[in-house]
Chain length 155, copies 3
Amino acid sequence: MSLSYEERAKSIGITIPKAATPAGSYVPAVQTGQLIFVAGQGSMRQDGPAFKGKVGQDLTVNDGYEAAKLAALNCLAAAKSVLGTLDRVDRVVKVNGYVNSAPGFTHQAKVMNGASDVLVKIFGEIGRHARTSVDVSDLPLNIAVEVEVVLACTS
Amino acid sequence: MSLSYEERAKSIGITIPKAATPAGSYVPAVQTGQLIFVAGQGSMRQDGPAFKGKVGQDLTVNDGYEAAKLAALNCLAAAKSVLGTLDRVDRVVKVNGYVNSAPGFTHQAKVMNGASDVLVKIFGEIGRHARTSVDVSDLPLNIAVEVEVVLACTS
Amino acid sequence: MSLSYEERAKSIGITIPKAATPAGSYVPAVQTGQLIFVAGQGSMRQDGPAFKGKVGQDLTVNDGYEAAKLAALNCLAAAKSVLGTLDRVDRVVKVNGYVNSAPGFTHQAKVMNGASDVLVKIFGEIGRHARTSVDVSDLPLNIAVEVEVVLACTS
């Protein structure tokens, strides 16, 4: 019998966190037809921001990579809170990454690979997604990275 | 007989504005299948920007909240221009907010609650959406907030 | 017999470029149902960034317009790499533009018309889309403009 996506994640040392409470009057994710739109998730842990500050100034590219990975896992937590299980995920469709960057920082793609790589590790071929990465000059709570995803799911 | 969404809005003092003419060579909203993608709408009134400048510098968080609310209402105006009536809205799926922020400003979530709260006031449970809020360092015409939404509709 | 979209483009002097290799661990575009989500594409040519720097400082509005046009054509290249042919495009649904802007620059809409205008030239009425334009303070590789699109296609 094949592993569930969560079991596969666990087998490579990755735990899907608990979904965070939204920071405002919205919900973590919405399903419409076979698409799931996940709310932007930050590089947060249960007890607050795990990576704070600007990549290229307060944080290294490698810190940013880890921040993007954490934000992507928080997106999966948000999706799971709506889907019940990640095994209903059919495809990771789109990932958008907003990187809190020092002026002149241009390595957003390296940072956002932290999100992309972990999605492909967990989901394999169906984890391969289209992606947009941009710089922003500030993010809520001074988090380092914010990631949002669109998933396709079985109905 | 139940109120239409526009009547419900009016009963709590909210008027859906007229759809603005796009600021460039595009259209206010596009329906594809049961999704409506609404073009980014600013904190504008018929006669121009209603909230100009950076939140946390030129504008207070409360001003920003009102600007986000206005931008969200302009999104509904754009959707209505395509759907004919807001009563065809099935779900507010996704809201993205771009907040024109002073350097170091990190209360985007409080600002964007202005958009989220008014959507929930008008649509109730189906108004609850996934959301992403980011800071930007400038916006077209120096408006304070730009909001875009994805809606699901009955066909 | 009517022209294909690529033939129509060629007849007005526009060549659809070859799809670029993604700058990170992601794919150029993903189809899900009848939607295509295209990854953010920059103002790049095969040999690197064609327009570098900030609009309103290093580049004029007209340069920005050309950069947005090039980025939009790269989006079509990415879509074609998944669809096989642009003739399966049913509608240009949504365009998001991120403009690498000088502080205080507020003419993003004029810049992004470079993307919108070329899409309408190629696709005609079905090229008319919803759009969001925002400023960003930096982009990957210091490109001038990044554009992402959502397309609807025949299945």
